[in-house]
Symmetry: D2
């Protein structure tokens, strides 16, 4: 594709997402009147893909100038081209970038002199606090948002960021219920079906972890006819799964007969070397938890003679003991890597939280404490009410 074709392709992608994002559409209309970001620059680090594109449009309506970088591996070049063609937007991201490229791009975002930042995983915060070059931002920034709990943890513990308020988007009950239970539940089913083309009906699937994500995954797989066994080391979670109608078991027993194994615990090393030794030959293993470390990749590699890519997103590990197992997406979040990530509408809610949080920071950051903190309750409530209006009363999409 030449540049113009790339831009057209990106615009089509963004248009499709926009049509499914009525909450951002409403917020954009309001921003177009109130111009909360007039004269302000927002520095962003978030996946450069179509849903993010709709969000950028929303912020532009509010008068913002934008400097954005993505995350390694998730950038859509056509979406990037379409965004770069917009006035007041600078994009520093391409699909093939390395981690070093990424850090360099983050610096370019900060060089734009943002008044607000929207961070993902704490990379922008880390540069502000870790390098003198951008240290002035500690004082000049009105505030920031951070998308993830992982990133929020870095801010609290490692970086001790206390010069400006950072609103942590993931710390809302709305996001936990909507995105973690329903969004992840359905996107894991999507990823599993599209990457493998296997039949879920009657399949023996073990879901490890029965928190919001795990419970959502278990429910949706059951909804597709799978025979789900839930494993959770917390007794009350296991009891709840049992009463909900799921089989439950200890992990070693469960693995012995599992055809598919999905981790969703939020802990590292859930499938460690010992557990990997118990996997049934022919089983498919995937991670849907927050960290790529739930499956101990090093232990898996060590137990294997050979690794063969057998299908997009699937590698076959030929184990030294004669078994073979299939690992999806190299242990990365399977719904993001093997599928399209969470459904568009789910991101509409999440990015609406981002939008209103940034507007609050732009307009009345002085009313907020310094440091990482939850999104104000009135913003969460407003977004939930907008979601209700958009999804439940079922007004026509724009």
């Amino acid at each position: 594709m030449n540049e113009q074709e790339l831009i057209e392709s990106g615009r089509r992608r963004i248009a499709w997402s926009r049509a499914q994002m009525p909450i951002l559409a409403d917020i954009g209309s309001r921003f177009a009147g109130s111009k909360p970001f007039a004269g302000l620059t927002i520095g962003i680090c978030l996946h450069v893909e179509a849903k993010t594109g709709v969000w950028i449009e929303t912020l532009l309506k509010g008068g913002a100038r934008i400097a954005i970088t993505g995350s390694p591996g998730s950038t859509q070049d056509d979406t990037a081209a379409a965004l770069a063609a917009l006035p007041d937007v600078r994009v520093y991201s391409h699909s093939g970038e390395t981690f070093d490229d990424h850090i360099r791009h983050c610096r370019l975002v900060l060089d734009a002199g943002p008044d607000l930042i929207a961070d993902n995983g704490g990379d922008l915060h880390a540069l502000i606090y870790g390098e003198d070059a951008h240290g002035a931002l500690r004082k000049s920034l009105r505030g920031a948002t951070e998308e993830t709990t992982t990133g929020a943890f870095r801010l609290y513990e490692e970086l001790q960021c206390r010069d400006f308020p950072t609103l942590v988007i993931n710390d809302t009950q709305a996001k936990r219920v909507v995105e973690n239970r329903y969004g992840v539940g359905s996107s894991v089913v999507d990823a599993l079906m599209r990457a493998t083309n296997i039949m879920l009906h009657g399949k023996r699937i073990v879901v490890i972890g029965y928190g919001y994500c795990g419970a959502g995954i278990a429910q949706r797989l059951r909804g597709m006819g799978a025979h789900v066994t839930v494993v959770d080391r917390e007794p009350l979670s296991r009891l709840e799964a049992h009463l909900e109608g799921f089989s439950t078991d200890e992990l070693p027993n469960a693995l012995a007969s599992a055809q598919v194994v999905i981790t969703a615990t939020g802990r590292s090393g859930v499938l460690d070397g010992e557990m990997i030794g118990l996997l049934r030959s022919g089983s498919i293993v995937a991670n849907a938890g927050h960290f790529a470390t739930e499956i101990d990749l090093a232990a898996l590699v060590e137990a294997a003679d050979a690794v063969v890519r057998v299908r997009d997103q699937i590698e076959r590990y030929e184990m030294k003991d004669g078994r073979h197992v299939y690992l999806m997406s190299q242990g990365n979040l399977v719904n993001l890597t093997a599928g399209d990530g969470n459904p568009i509408e789910i991101m509409d809610l999440g990015l609406a939280l981002q939008s209103l949080s940034l507007a609050r920071l732009a307009q009345s950051a002085s009313g907020l404490a310094k440091g990482a903190q939850a999104v104000p309750r009135d913003i969460e409530r407003e977004v939930v009410e907008r979601a209700l209006a958009a999804w439940v009363t079922g007004r026509d999409t724009p």
Copy 2:
């Protein structure tokens, strides 16, 4: 890709499918001993894709020589290359072929002088009965199979094929339950999620038709959290859907609030011009019934000012009255075109019926009546028992 890379790619595809097809693996092992096709040539018309590839391997184990063509649009070139590299296999098919190419390829299959044919939609039968060039096959063929009900109908009514037995694979209760209810139910959900990335939770979806396919689709969508309304003009089907917990309605009312509409009736023109006029602006329309004619494409085109491809498999129709609607896969079977078709295991059962039917024809066609007929009950029963053994007792996959 060069030729060797193409072959390697095709082999990997086939290998993945093979790993999920234990029924064919068992049948192949038996065929390797009994050689039911020794000295015989089988002429095949079926989608040249990975699952078919595993079937070809199975027939080869039984001593067959193979001449195969595909269907326009569904050929995977790498799978074709991998099959063509096998001894005793001739492949006449490529991804870009036109309908004329297809008929020419069918003739080449018949030129191979098959002893048995496996037909799909009756194209091979039509040439045998419609052209003198291959008329000799009417006498020399031991027998045939026909995959589809549509094709079977052609044989009964149009072609009056009565010179040799033709076993109709789709006329088995096993295939109706396993493939139509469970296979189609899950592959439609797969196709819808992968092509649109929309959220199914809370989505108002109308399923038109509550037969095996429609009921399966409705169940699976509900399993994903959708709000399903069932429409069926047969009172008892509607009553059954209502008691099963689904909302039901008349079609016009149902369309007024639907966000997604799926046809699965087996009839033409279900969404005709009048019904198209009632579609809610922004709604997504897809067909999962046997015929691409369930949605009246001509009426849709006539009601529209413009048609824009907005995403792979999705076109946006700008209606003259200001509404817009999204049509998936141009009204073709959405699970086959926007997804990977039915799950691999489902095809394992269907192709096992094919394999044993061909073996019966090879060995004891004289015990069968002439003309189109159902698969013998003992073959259906054997395949069901093999499916039970493979899926339920859960023996390790090969």
Copy 3:
């Protein structure tokens, strides 16, 4: 209660049922105009309970005179008193009647010289064909209905009734779907909960038989959180249950861990002496199939040292080998004996089939063949459409 109190009590019972039976209400209104039974006597053998009472009222509106007897064990004395107080109704039934009483009462019904009979299990037919006293009815009857498949079988095979048409109510797809799948499914759950007060969530329950009744029972128990294992000796039924998401197993394995066992096969001796020997100590056993013979009561008694009534409808068998098992309702249909039978609305549909069948026989029996036969399709269709109108469009109940 004195007689007047009994009548009042019966009227209240009937009134409650009437309020849930809109289909009969509509049919009654029509009958009140057309008087299809003017001058005719209908002889009835059916459970004398409140729902039957509403049906009697409906027939009376059509101009009928009624002579009715019940079945041993199911007569409600207050309902009987309320009906007997109506003009043109003779009731021969009381709660404590023996089988001999029952036969005597049937003779009294026939003595009334009916023009039409409504039979249940073939008892009236058996007297007409077995005793000279009522032989004249063979010629004079316009026709009959028979409620059950069991009774129909008697008519076909044993009695060779061929002098007048007998319409078999149970031989309709509407009744199979509505009553067998949904009615029985929910009334078994009702009976199990009310008789035992046990928790269904997480309970390991084996359902034997996966026909209409068994599938309905399995679905509803799963809907209450139970862990259901389906046993069916037909491979395709087992495969279907597996793909539907149920565990399946061979009977001996299934019994080993079952906490509750429910038979719904339509066959005798499903739980025979050998299977009874495999029941887990403490398990609860119930029959929901057509015949009380699904559980081999004799074998159970023989294997036991003692039998103790531990709760209404539950007996504890102290087995000679030290185990104990609980049998519900002595192996009789658990939903009829331990509960109130099928929901009122379900009977509204069944008794509507009865009403229109009797009206057809009254008015145009000559258009029907002699002997047992299915209900005419137009009657089934009309009742289904009335059920749709009553249940789905949700008009106010009378």
Copy 4:
């Protein structure tokens, strides 16, 4: 029944419950060895029914002397007789007692000079703090338990009980999940079916409140085929219900088409005069929330011309405007009054919490703060682990 027959009847009832209560059985075995209550008297106020009977047996094994009274209306006379026949048990309760009788009985329990009390609704605490006669207990009691949240509220706010520790059984996550979601969900379905005999399949049922109880009720009704609409004034609760697949609506709209209405909010006056005016004629109304005040009975009476008892637990209100509505159990908790209350196993868990809490108070009350407080976490965890062992690993019941 004479006294001996009454005792025998009570023993059979208790025996049936005992067979379903393996957690108490295990605790009883341990108590039999450790005798935590040796020499101590426990004063109890709790429903004198069979499950409580099993608990009394458990405390006796631990060496306790017991003085018990029940609650007005819930005492089973045969269970009371069976308990009174045990050594070391005094029972002050009978089925026909008035509220004055109840208070007198509570005083008799306190006259026994208890070392520990187990209270229900705070009645015993109120006498200890409200009357000088038992004021000495404020100092002498080792501690107390309180079953309900309502009662706990009285202790905190009204009575200011701060002389000894009171462990509040309902304040545990285990009880909320197990009893409120699963126990109440299934017992409401049980009560509704047994009291009305209506069909739940396809029934339009409105559940008001989507907390633990409401969500459980909605799930189980859907599991029985009902068409459930959820009403909750909290936006996130409504959004969650919507994404879970339920219809949701504003209360006035929902009432307009509801055939059954169930309140489960924990608030008073949910169905007030205005809402009562919107109930559909013929609808059935029931309360499953904590307080009998969720339905405004006074407003209902005022709007009615007449009230008629039409069936056990159901009254028909003839409204002045011509409508009629059915109220279940006079607005009292429908699962306790129209059914047998929560399933036995659920109470096994709840009474196990009671047993271990009392044992902790008996042995080491000094380690606990004074006043009302949650059950110690280690006790909750132990009970959950025992429930897992009893229900999940499925050991034979005693």
